[in-house]
Symmetry: C2
Subunit: 211 residues, 2 copies
């Protein structure tokens, strides 16, 4: 029995020279830089050096491509997350600070456009969109992880701390679109804010540690 053409478990001898992968990579780039609704399939295929028919041989619809892009984004994000916190295993506070530090460093890249998934949440308001579930699940997981780290760090109110940290991170991504000069952007103070929140929740109640 033959396998489904659309799901390409087929292996190419030398990585991503396949049309599908070129389309996928181009789509993720264009969606991220210009927005999902601003990019048509013709833009994607011409950007990938192919044509529309080859697009629909690999993807059943644009919406499905968008959903797959979001899934890929989520996977890469958690990979990045795990790599960032790995060096500080056993030290939850250091892990949290590492996330903020790496996040700020990542935002330093030119033409950074915030969080692809948060941006998608703005553009894809219809619950029926196949990407909607990915967005929801990703943000829930991000919240869960931050609360978990806050608890592991010994926060007095782990849920509140985790949520506040999440707001700082999400706010950093959201403001990145408007404050293009990341050297002076508000997100430069996200790490300091996170440290202050950590201090407040981890220090003994009557002494304030500053750092």
């Amino acid at each position: 029995m033959s396998h489904d053409k659309r799901t390409t478990d087929r292996q190419t001898p030398e990585g991503g020279t396949r049309v599908r992968d070129r389309i996928f990579k181009t789509a993720r780039e264009l969606f991220y830089r210009q927005g999902i609704r601003a990019v048509g399939v013709d833009d994607i295929t011409s950007g990938a050096g192919t044509n529309k028919m080859s697009f629909y041989r690999s993807f059943s619809s644009k919406d499905e491509l968008v959903a797959q892009c979001l899934r890929a984004q989520e996977g890469e994000y958690w990979t990045w997350w795990d790599e960032v916190i790995a060096p500080h295993a056993g030290n939850p506070r250091a892990q949290i600070e590492a996330i903020f530090d790496a996040s700020a460093r990542k935002a330093r890249d030119v033409e950074r456009c915030g969080c692809a998934i948060s941006n998608a949440a703005v553009e894809l308001r219809d619950d029926a969109h196949p990407g909607h579930a990915v967005i929801h699940e990703h943000k829930m997981e991000k919240r869960r992880r931050l609360r978990e780290l806050a608890a592991a760090a010994g926060a007095r109110d782990a849920d509140a701390l985790g949520d506040a940290l999440m707001l700082l991170l999400e706010g950093s991504a959201a403001t990145r679109l408007t404050f293009s000069d990341c050297e002076t952007a508000p997100l430069c103070n996200a790490l300091a804010g996170a440290r202050a929140l950590l201090d407040a929740q981890l220090a003994p109640p009557r002494a304030a540690r500053r750092g």
Copy 2:
């Protein structure tokens, strides 16, 4: 010159139940709920109970309407802001907390979709869009006001505190789209986070005064 005119309907060139105002109001609602790019001028005009021609008699283009909606949104936002902080004049810390409190209360409304201007920043990536300047100016002003309040409150690092507060607020708006149940959303902990940040920056370095 003035006869008995039935009090209202159509007289003032500015304001009233004119078609232009109905279109404007409908457009702001639809843009906010469904997104700017997701709403066409036909959706707006039919929602306003009129037709496309009347639209283009009042607005030169959809982009221009969008820009005017954003300008109106900005104006109303600062009006709201000033009203919220007015009762706490002379107490910058209370003013900041009032902003967070009122913001969370506002987000409690059903079908709230975050910040219209932040959402527009995601959808309108082209710098040439007439709404782009409004977005940029609004976020700059928001940052300036928060830093100003932080300074007035006596923060050790007013810019850092103002920025961190801004990230909390922007994060609250951004996450509002995904966490639809606002009773358990992360933004419920924004005020607590803001208070912790205020404590850290306003309290004497060796004592903690808030719980």
